[in-house]
């Protein structure tokens, strides 16, 4: 890690690392391949007790970071999640918890309390995104008197079928809006989807004239753009750190393999053709560490360039994480594409992380927009 860790941060990371090694070893993930949720509820509440869902929540609301920089602390947890290919909706629960922190409504406070204890899972339904044109949004929201009517559908939603609360983002007049919807609200339907991931579960969620009271709004109607931006930056930080952990695990495993595997009477680590590929991978890995750490710092501090750095991290790691994992497969040869080998857990992790909360192409377009705005302003 680029930043020096405090002893509290070290403890946080170490505790999570040991907990994951104990509760979510790859052998357990293999057993849970067909588990509907992908993990036992006690695993998630145990993690919540370690602080997994509290780091972005204010102390007044029962949360708190260990270093004063919640996003940096959370990135440490996320890195361990990646290294262990661990199950559990770390990203969505934290995105929703951070959105609910400071919100006064009864529903919001109730949901936040349950997310903090791990009793409930929450999902973010990103039905509109800043890189889209307004008519590309999957979810729209309109006002009817004091109520808000939600329509549309969105996928993939992580842990949608296990979720108690949905933070729904949709396009509305004047900009994006966000509402908190209990999953059992009339008009909400959730369909579990199949996915390439073994450890995580995804769903499609649709909204058919779902009517919620104005009190379900987070912020003012049509005024959520800034908040959505902040949430995506947060998600980008968590996903980037997770992918760096997964990249590191895949890379370490492949370096070991290169020393152990002999062909033509020598270790494959002695072939220059492969040594150069390892050197390239090492440079991608260190670069990913660097931009991931920088994104966590910038988002934690809310700097003026946090958006640029977060999108740079999400797009670079989204693309290069997959390239690194596939190169690791190539260097393993045939064994690298078997289910028996562990490598695929990390390949799946980085491949799905590439997609969630914006693909590399989407983040690049968004980043270009920031760049253009800056140069026109100058």
């Amino acid at each position: 890690m680029w930043h020096e860790l405090t002893s509290d941060q070290d403890l946080l990371r170490d505790t999570t690392s040991r907990y994951l090694g104990d509760r979510a070893p790859l052998s357990q993930l293999r057993k849970d391949r067909d588990h509907p949720a992908g993990f036992d509820p006690a695993y998630w509440t145990g993690g919540a007790e370690l602080g997994w869902t509290m780091l972005l929540v204010s102390e007044d609301d029962g949360g708190g970071s260990v270093s004063g920089k919640g996003a940096v602390d959370l990135a440490l947890i996320a890195y361990e999640f990646g290294r262990h290919a661990a199950p559990g909706p770390l990203v969505d629960c934290n995105v929703v918890a951070s959105a609910l922190s400071g919100q006064e409504g009864e529903l919001q406070q109730d949901a936040l309390g349950q997310i903090l204890t791990g009793e409930a899972i929450a999902s973010s339904c990103l039905g509109a995104a800043p890189w889209q044109l307004p008519d590309e949004a999957g979810v729209t929201m309109t006002k009817d008197g004091d109520d808000v009517i939600v329509n549309g559908s969105i996928k993939p939603v992580e842990s949608g079928a296990q979720s108690g609360f949905l933070l729904v983002t949709g396009m509305s007049e004047g900009g994006m809006s966000q509402v908190l919807v209990p999953v059992d609200a009339a008009g909400v339907s959730v369909k579990a989807l199949k996915s390439m991931d073994v450890t995580r579960r995804f769903a499609a969620v649709s909204f058919e004239n779902v009517r919620v009271p104005a009190s379900a709004l987070l912020g003012a109607f049509g005024q959520a753009d800034e908040e959505v931006t902040r949430q995506i930056q947060t998600a980008a930080v968590i996903l980037a750190a997770e992918s760096v952990g997964a990249m590191e695990a895949a890379f370490d495993m492949t370096v070991d393999w290169a020393f152990d595997r002999y062909t033509f009477g020598r270790a494959i680590a002695s072939y220059q053709a492969l040594k150069h590929r390892f050197a390239d991978m090492k440079s991608w890995l260190e670069a990913s560490h660097a931009i991931s750490d920088a994104a966590a710092e910038a988002v934690a501090d809310g700097t003026a360039t946090a958006g640029e750095i977060a999108s740079a991290a999400k797009s670079y790691i989204g693309e290069q994480g997959v390239e690194l994992a596939q190169d690791c497969v190539q260097i393993h040869g045939g064994i690298g594409v078997t289910y028996e080998h562990d490598l695929h857990f990390y390949l799946r992790r980085v491949t799905l992380n590439r997609l969630l909360y914006g693909t590399p192409a989407e983040h690049r377009r968004w980043l270009a927009g920031m760049q253009i705005e800056k140069e026109y302003a100058a």
């Binding site: 002695s270 390892f278 660097a290 750095i309 270009a368």
Partner: protein
């Protein structure tokens, strides 16, 4: 001045005041070393010499050089503070690299007291610009394979051979040169370092025109060039010890504590043309695929910067192994190549074919693209750095070589024929 060292904050305040009072705003020739004609370049050099003299007279030259050689005897933190205050101001850019790092740095570490007294104050006053005479036509990355020879004649020496890729040797004053002095020892053991004035009988300097038309790099031919033994640096045949430090200072380059140059401000971005501007000129600013390229360009720039910070922080904390800088070198090369390609792609045909009467033509983008591999060649190729990463960072087996533990004269230097 008392013996107690001035605090960085006090020094910074004093530097700020002096800079604001004495140095004008940054000029185009501070940002790009490229000059359209030799006349303009010589003017820029004269101006840089005068600026360096101004720093010296103002008491701000050689911040980390010892006082006995005309410097201030302060710390890298003082130098950094000065460099930060220098942001946005004119400065003697042609004195930073290679004069201060690596040349003056090597001289400071290995030169005799007489050599240091003769040259370090002269450098700090702007009287001497130095070059490094390292690469040879026979090999770039294999630095220790040099064949330029120095032979003893009486108690002095005679140099024969050729050096290449020496930036701006045609107007520089002195050079530091790595030579072979013993052909019976293995490759790394028979080298010696000397210093010599560049403009003297026996040294012919030719300019090398590169494919973009620019010709700052030179090749030097040495024919029976006499060098007094008093201009030898370090022990005879121990040149590689100095050589490894020399290359360390070369890698530090602009980040060396001996280098004065602005940090922050606009300088760092202004090397490259804005891809937003390129896309706008090509009418592609609203094209989503062009925006993806702009975003990729920008992201790679940010990642390159953060990786450099990470490696530097590792080195500063003492945790990082020094070979980690090779990771940065590989990444920087690859990222720079990709960014040149993106700029070229965004520019469209205007980068390849242009009307010379047109204002704001984008031909420079095309030339940058043709020259893009320089980012993976100059200062040691990315291939060599990949070997370093694999072997010294990841611990993988070394490549076979044909030059170890045998006298250098027996090392094959070309195909065996007949």
């Amino acid at each position: 001045m008392s013996d107690e060292m001035e605090s960085v904050d006090d020094f910074r305040a004093r530097a700020r005041e002096w800079i604001n009072a004495n140095l004008g705003p940054m000029q185009p020739w501070d940002i790009s070393q490229h000059c359209d004609t030799d006349e303009i370049e010589l003017e820029a050099v004269a101006r840089d010499r005068a600026l360096q003299r101004k720093l010296f007279d103002g008491g701000f030259a050689g911040i980390c050089f010892p006082r006995e050689y005309g410097g201030l005897g302060l710390t890298p933190d003082h130098n950094r503070a000065f460099n930060e205050e220098l942001a946005g101001h004119e400065y003697p850019s042609r004195f930073s690299v290679p004069t201060f790092s690596p040349c003056a740095s090597v001289l400071l570490e290995y030169g005799t007291p007489e050599q240091k007294a003769a040259h370090l104050p002269a450098i700090l006053k702007g009287d001497e610009v130095w070059v490094q005479l390292l690469s040879e036509p026979g090999g770039g990355s294999d630095v220790a394979g040099i064949t330029t020879r120095a032979e003893k004649q009486g108690k002095d020496w005679v140099v024969n051979g050729s050096k290449v890729w020496t930036s701006r040797a045609w107007w520089a004053d002195w050079g530091i040169i790595l030579t072979r002095t013993n052909w019976d020892l293995p490759k790394h053991q028979g080298m010696t370092v000397f210093i010599l004035p560049l403009h003297q009988p026996g040294i012919e300097i030719q300019r090398i025109e590169r494919l973009n038309g620019e010709s700052e790099a030179c090749q030097e031919f040495f024919s029976d060039v006499p060098v007094p033994d008093s201009d030898r640096v370090g022990e005879i045949d121990a040149g590689w010890t100095i050589g490894t430090r020399w290359m360390y200072h070369e890698r530090l380059g602009h980040n060396s504590p001996y280098v004065t140059r602005p940090i922050g401000g606009k300088r760092e971005q202004s090397y490259e043309p804005s891809v937003v501007g390129i896309a706008r000129k090509a009418g592609r600013l609203d094209d989503p695929s062009a925006r993806e390229l702009i975003g990729e360009h920008s992201a790679l720039g940010l990642v390159t910067h953060e990786l450099q910070r990470r490696i530097a922080a590792g080195a500063a904390s003492g945790k990082g192994n020094k070979d980690l800088s090779s990771i940065d070198r590989v990444f920087r090369g690859i990222a720079s190549v990709r960014r040149s390609t993106i700029a070229f792609e965004l520019a469209g045909s205007g980068a390849s074919v242009w009307d010379e009467d047109e204002e704001d033509a984008t031909d420079a983008i095309g030339m940058n693209f043709l020259m893009r591999q320089v980012a993976c060649i100059g200062g040691g190729t990315t291939e060599i750095s990949r070997n370093v990463v694999a072997e010294r960072v990841l611990g993988m087996p070394r490549e076979q070589s044909g030059d170890r533990n045998i006298p250098f004269r027996d090392v094959p230097r070309g195909p065996k024929r007949g």
